[in-house]
C-alpha cells in the first residue's frame, strides 16, 4: 500500500496542518496588513516599521533546525521509506526568476501561499479571485518550468546541455 494513504501518515498531516494554521493565526501572519508592515522598510526612519515577521521566521527556523538534526542519524522518516527532497540542487535561472516573480506578487498583497490558504477561514472579499489566480499561476508555472529547464542529453557518458 502506498505509504501516503496510511492512517498514521494522515494523522501526522492533520496535526502538522493544525499547528501550522494555528501558528499562522497566533503570529498574525494570516493578516496581510501585518505582513506588509514588515515589508515596508520605508517606515523604518519614522519608527512605524513592524519587525514581527522576522521573529516568526527565526523562531520557525530554529525549531525546524532541531527537527532536521534529529533525523540526521536516521536515513528515513518514521512513516515513510525516504525523505522527499526537491530534485534540483542547482542555482539556476528558474530559481532566481521564480523568486523575483513571487516577491513581486507577495509585495503587492502581503499574502504568501500559507496565509492564502489559511485566509479561507475568514473568506475576506475577493480572496476567491486571489486563490483561483494563484492556482492558475501554479498550473501555468509547470509549463514555464519545462520551457526554462535545459534539456540534458547523455552521449557516451558525456553530458550536453541544450
Amino acid at each position: 500500500m502506498n505509504e501516503s494513504v496510511k492512517a498514521s501518515y494522515l494523522i501526522v498531516a492533520v496535526i502538522s496542518g493544525a499547528l501550522f494554521g494555528s501558528g499562522l493565526y497566533v503570529s498574525q501572519m494570516v493578516d496581510p496588513l501585518k505582513v506588509l508592515k514588515f515589508l515596508d522598510f520605508g517606515a523604518i526612519p519614522s519608527g512605524n516599521w513592524d519587525p514581527s515577521l522576522a521573529f516568526v521566521i527565526v523562531a520557525a527556523i530554529l525549531v525546524m533546525f532541531i527537527g532536521v538534526k534529529i533525523t540526521k542519524k536516521n536515513n528515513e522518516p518514521i512513516l515513510d521509506d525516504e525523505f522527499h527532497l526537491p530534485d534540483s540542487k542547482k542555482i539556476d535561472h528558474s530559481l532566481i526568476v521564480g523568486s523575483v516573480i513571487f516577491g513581486l506578487g507577495w509585495g503587492m498583497s502581503g499574502i504568501c501561499p500559507g496565509p492564502a490558504i489559511s485566509l479561507i477561514a475568514f473568506m475576506p472579499e475577493n480572496l476567491i479571485i486571489f486563490l483561483l489566480a494563484m492556482f492558475a499561476g501554479s498550473f501555468l508555472g509547470s509549463y514555464v518550468l519545462k520551457l526554462m529547464t535545459p534539456i540534458e542529453i547523455s552521449n557516451n557518458g558525456e553530458k550536453f546541455t541544450l
Partner: protein
Amino acid sequence: MENFSPITALIGGAMIGLASAILWIFNGRIAGISGIFGQLLPPARTIIWRLVFLVSMIGATYITYLILPNLGGENGAKPELVDSSILWVAISGLLIGLGTKISNGCTSGHGVCGLARFSLRSLIAVIVFFITAIVTVSVSGITL
C-alpha cells in the same frame, strides 16, 4: 513600532517550526505550502495527505480565532485584503502561483524548511524574494 508583537510572533513561529519538524520527522515531507497545493493537480499521486493538511490548516486557523478573537485587533476584527480590487488581487495571486512553482518554494518551503537545512538554493531564493517584495511595497505604496 506600535504594532510590534514579538511574543506572539515567537510563539506562532515556533508552532510553524514544530509543524514543519513533525511533517519532516514522521512523513519525510517538506511543509512548503506552495508545494503542498501546487501538486494537488493531476498527475500528482499523493493528493490525499495534501488535502488533509490544508483542510486541517484552515480549520485550525478558524478555531484559534474563536479562542483568541482579539489577537489581530479589537472586537475580533477579521483579516482583510489590503487592496481587494479585482485586477490587483488577480495579478498578485497569479504572480505568487507562477513564481513559487518556477522557483519551487515559498516563505515556508524555502524560508523555514530550506534555511533550517542550510540549503544554499533556498538562501538565495529567500534573499531574492524578500528584496523584491520590499522594493514592491515601497514602489506601490500600498501600506500608505
